[in-house]
């Protein structure tokens, strides 16, 4: 059934599958040849290939005045990549008799373009057109342990080598088979475009070789990967492989799938987050409503299943439910701010220097939502002895284990299909919809297609926790002696672990201790002050675990970087230096200086700007990549006070110049798209988008309340520059556009208005720019006046 729905199943069910097992070939004599690997063509009527990658992880060790911070030497991606090594031999590429190759990617496509970049990597080493490589998403595979987490911008970093090795072993097996078929030696054959040609011009296609390339017994194979100078596909912009489906409406998301009897299902939720239902007082009345088939109480609310989602909405609005209040009932922003202030630890002592000046700053970042366009949704078909789930999941193996636990089943009884999702932004690291759908299906004894209403996704869904960031800088005679940054935050939930149940349980130890350890680790492995600022210290304290939080795109970095780049501008001002020149003179890393120089030049840093308009410049370094952003902002009254129906105008970022160096680039077009998206995220974080907690409710219930960047906010002029790189390793791309943009917009705003903002977004404390939707019933009714609004 799943296959008919276009839901990815096993990749290797026909033709030949090459299982590549690779290990670095490290004979003493050969020195370090990082392109030679050992692979295995595993025996059988189909070819199966796997990879044992236990490669050393590179480290930076430049001599620098500041002691290197952990993230410089070993960042989050090193951790994530090393965690994947022991199991990377369990991924395989199949070559089929129709001449195509397929690969079930143990990662989640949420719009970041990894199915496209993965197809490109396979096409490159396999010598097959990209269009003949089919990349699907693997089901939950608990045996992959840490190798099925999509997060930390780690997909390309961790899969770059194993996937290429698998493809190279496949090519090698095909060449061996072709040598026999064509009666010529392998070295005389040329593989190109899915065809292998002999010197005399005779040729044979991959499809024709698919069967004969299979090996009856497991074979150890040495393969040599292409040198980057030989790349013809990697590094050349490629359009998304799913773009045509997206623009014709054929691309399927979870709620588009048709699973027999899985009728629309929604949940009536408590007026305060995480409140629980006592009882539904009018169940009989609800069951009589048009279209309604089932009503069931679950721990998160009252679920209703009906012929259409519209009838679910009607039913929810008619429900009379008694609730137990949620754990933050009655609390408001100011209460949480007070709690964070109380949890702030004293800053450590600074070097004793009577000539030095102290610069202090204190910033507050409000709650933000990572709600995607495609709300939390899942299809669940739970029977007495088994369950099948379809959902967009970035940690499907953890989801499988947790769902099994909730249903009283073993993990092997629960099949979890991973479906492409309409965005994630961190939201889909968790599986709130899938777990809830499974419980509802079990309670109703029927298949359900659960969709969260937007109002629930916004108010009860996960978000970025509120955070304070305090900075103290000691400087004297044009030198920075010490730089301290201390963040205090509502807890960031990492209980998904590294995508496997073992680390997820570790993160779920009592009293938040496990999660705090996880959070501290992620913070330490991602944060870094890339300047020569003497004694540098960055710390994180997390408190308060009653909110629904999680990683939001780029986790700690946007807030942290925004705070420290604003202070960098203050330092430059105190020392009478230009912000660009100041950064250039204190930066430690040549790659960062190069992107900074690039945006300063391409974006005309320092050009005269009219009153109330200004430039801002900022840098970021993370996930093995570096970036710089130069923005221009318009804070003129006529712009700020634009009248926007159901939205906010406010200052407009008019121009963005962004330079990114992620090392080796697989798909420059995809990278450019990721930067453009990150730019819009950074603008939203600085200017418009936040959640207001008031009397125990998050007020924002939809896109007319939660002000993510819209066309009237987006910069009319955006230039993304992908830096040339001679690196042979890729860096992370999915989050790299956010932090530098947020920081640059904040710096530009400070310059245009003459006031450094100390809380974000800058419009949070203004009078609310929307009418708050009711909390009972919890979701709004759909309007009926659509025919009056046509254009």
């Amino acid at each position: 059934m799943a296959k008919d729905l276009g839901v990815p199943l096993e990749a290797c069910h026909m033709g030949c599958t090459l299982s590549v097992s690779t290990e670095p070939d490290l004979p003493a004599a050969s020195g370090v040849d990082r392109r030679r690997f050992i692979g295995y063509v595993i025996g059988g009527t189909t070819l199966v290939a796997a990879a044992d990658l236990v490669a050393p992880v590179g480290s930076a060790n430049a001599a620098i005045p500041s002691i290197p911070q952990p993230a410089e030497l070993y960042d989050l991606n090193d951790l994530l990549t090393q965690a994947t090594l022991p199991t990377s031999n369990l991924i395989s590429i199949a070559v089929h008799e129709d001449g195509t190759a397929s690969f079930a990617l143990p990662r989640m496509e949420v719009g970041q373009g990894i199915t496209t970049s993965t197809a490109m990597l396979i096409a490159e080493e396999l010598e097959l057109p990209v269009g003949k490589v089919k990349v699907t998403l693997a089901q939950a595979r608990p045996e992959l342990l840490f190798n099925q987490l999509t997060g930390g911008s780690n997909t390309t970093i961790s899969t770059y080598t194993p996937i290429r090795v698998a493809a190279a072993v496949a090519r090698s097996a095909l060449l061996d088979a072709a040598a026999i078929a064509l009666g010529d030696a392998v070295e005389n054959l040329v593989a190109r475009g899915g065809v292998i040609q002999a010197r005399d011009g005779r040729s044979v296609s991959y499809g024709e070789l698919a069967r004969s390339a299979a090996s009856p017994s497991t074979k150890r194979v040495e393969v040599k990967l292409k040198d980057t100078s030989e790349f013809r596909v990697v590094g050349v912009g490629h359009k998304r492989v799913d773009a045509r489906d997206a623009v014709t409406g054929k691309k399927k998301f979870t709620t588009d799938l048709q699973v027999k009897d899985a009728l629309p299902t929604m949940v009536c939720r408590a007026p305060t987050p995480n409140g629980t239902p006592k009882r539904l007082r009018n169940k009989a009345e609800i069951l009589r409503m048009p279209g309604v088939t089932h009503v069931a109480k679950v721990d998160t609310g009252i679920a209703v299943r009906a012929q259409t989602f519209g009838q679910c909405i009607d039913a929810i609005r008619a429900m009379r439910v008694e609730w137990n209040p949620g754990p933050v009932a009655g609390l408001s922003d100011k209460d949480i701010v007070a709690k964070l202030r109380a949890a702030e630890l004293p800053m450590p002592s600074l070097p004793d220097n009577p000539l030095a000046e102290l610069l202090e700053a204190d910033f507050l970042f409000y709650f933000r939502s990572n709600s995607a366009m495609d709300t939390n949704s899942a299809i669940a078909d739970v029977r007495a002895d088994r369950a099948t789930i379809w959902s967009g999941l970035k940690s499907p193996a953890t989801a499988q284990a947790r769902i099994a636990e909730a249903l009283g089943m073993s993990a092997s009884q629960v099949t979890v299909n991973v479906v492409t999702a309409g965005g994630s932004f961190g939201r889909r690291l968790f599986f709130d919809g899938a777990l809830e759908a499974a419980k509802i299906s079990q309670a109703m004894k029927k298949p359900v297609k659960l969709m969260w209403h937007r109002a629930d996704d916004a108010r009860v869904g996960r978000g970025h926790p509120m955070t304070t960031s305090r900075i103290r800088v000691l400087h004297a005679a044009g030198e920075v002696l010490a730089f301290q940054q201390s963040n205090t935050s509502v807890e960031t939930d990492f209980r998904h672990g590294l995508g496997d149940i073992i680390t997820a349980m570790g993160a779920d130890l009592p009293a938040g201790l496990g999660n705090l350890g996880f959070a501290e680790t992620v913070f330490a492995l991602t944060q870094e002050i890339p300047y020569n600022f003497g004694v540098v210290l960055q710390t994180l304290v997390e408190t308060e675990e009653r909110f629904n939080t999680g990683s939001m795109r780029n986790i700690y970095s946007p807030d942290t970087r925004c705070a420290n780049e604003l202070v960098v501008d203050q330092l430059a001002k105190k020392m009478g230096k230009d912000p660009y020149e100041f950064r250039k003179s204190f930066l430690k890393n040549d790659r960062v200086i190069a992107v900074l120089d690039k945006v300063a030049q391409a974006g005309s840093w320092g050009r005269p700007m009219p009153k109330h308009m200004a430039q801002g410049i900022a840098i970021h370094k993370e996930y093995r990549g570096v970036s710089a952003c130069l923005v221009e902002i318009d804070c003129r009254p006529q712009t700020v006070n634009r009248d926007i129906r159901d939205g906010v105008g406010g200052p407009r970022v008019t121009k963005v110049t962004y330079a990114i160096d992620v090392g080796l680039v697989v798909n420059p077009r995809g990278l450019e798209a990721q930067m453009q998206g990150g730019i819009n995220d950074g603008i939203a974080l600085a200017l418009t988008s936040s959640m207001h907690l008031r009397d125990g409710h998050f007020l924002e219930a939809s896109w007319d309340n939660y002000f993510y960047t819209r066309q009237w906010n987006t910069p009319p002029e955006v230039k993304v520059i992908v830096m040339p790189s001679d690196s042979t390793q890729p860096g992370g791309a999915g989050e790299a556009g956010v932090a530098a943009t947020f920081a640059a917009v904040a710096c530009a705003y400070a310059r245009a208005t003459g006031t450094m903002p100390t809380y974000f977004p800058i419009n949070h404390r203004e009078p609310l720019e929307f009418k708050v939707k009711p909390f009972v019933p919890p979701i709004p009714q759909s309007p009926t006046n659509g025919l009056k609004l046509t254009y």
């Binding site: 998304r240 399927k252 366009m373 159901d646 998206g677 009926t784 659509g786 025919l787």
Partner: protein, 158 residues
């Protein structure tokens, strides 16, 4: 249950459902036409944008009972047929600019773009920056820059 009749992507279509069910659910849940997406249900995100008699509308905010038997509803699935080609010029432009990221909002974006170009043509002018600024369709991936480029490109071939 009342029979509801309208013309969907060129074909007369009848479905048994109460008058007050919004057209979005009739399309998605009863007819299996899933190009128009749910993003809010209150006509603010515009992910379900489709056309009625050639103009943009949002089926989340129209009762099926308010459709007349001769109303032409066009979803993204039927857009190409309106020009008798495999792809509408706006879809071609979307592909050329490689606009989509997750793709969820893009059917609505394209339907809105086509209607916007037609609207400014009716006003006897071409697309301006202020028209692009007025587009209300949200894209949480932030593909706005490429959407703007694609609309200008698509308009040239419409």
């Amino acid at each position: 249950m009342p029979k509801q009749t309208f013309i969907l992507n060129g074909k007369p279509t009848t479905v048994d459902v109460h008058d007050d069910v919004r057209v979005l659910w009739v399309l998605r849940d009863l007819l299996g036409v899933t190009g128009p997406k749910y993003g809010c249900g209150i006509n603010v995100c515009k992910a379900c944008t489709s056309h009625i008699n050639g103009k943009a509308f949002n089926p989340c905010s129209v009762r099926v009972g308010d459709l007349a038997a001769d109303d032409h509803v066009t979803t993204i699935e039927g857009l190409n047929d309106t020009v008798g080609k495999d792809l509408h010029p706006m879809q071609e432009a979307w592909l050329d600019r490689d606009v989509p990221q997750c793709g969820y909002c893009q059917p609505g974006q394209i339907m809105a773009a086509v209607a916007l170009v037609r609207k400014v043509r009716r006003e006897g002018r071409s697309i301006r920056d202020s028209d692009l600024d007025s587009i209300r369709n949200i894209c949480r991936c932030g593909t706005y820059t490429r959407i703007r480029e694609a609309i200008e490109q698509g308009a040239r071939h419409m």
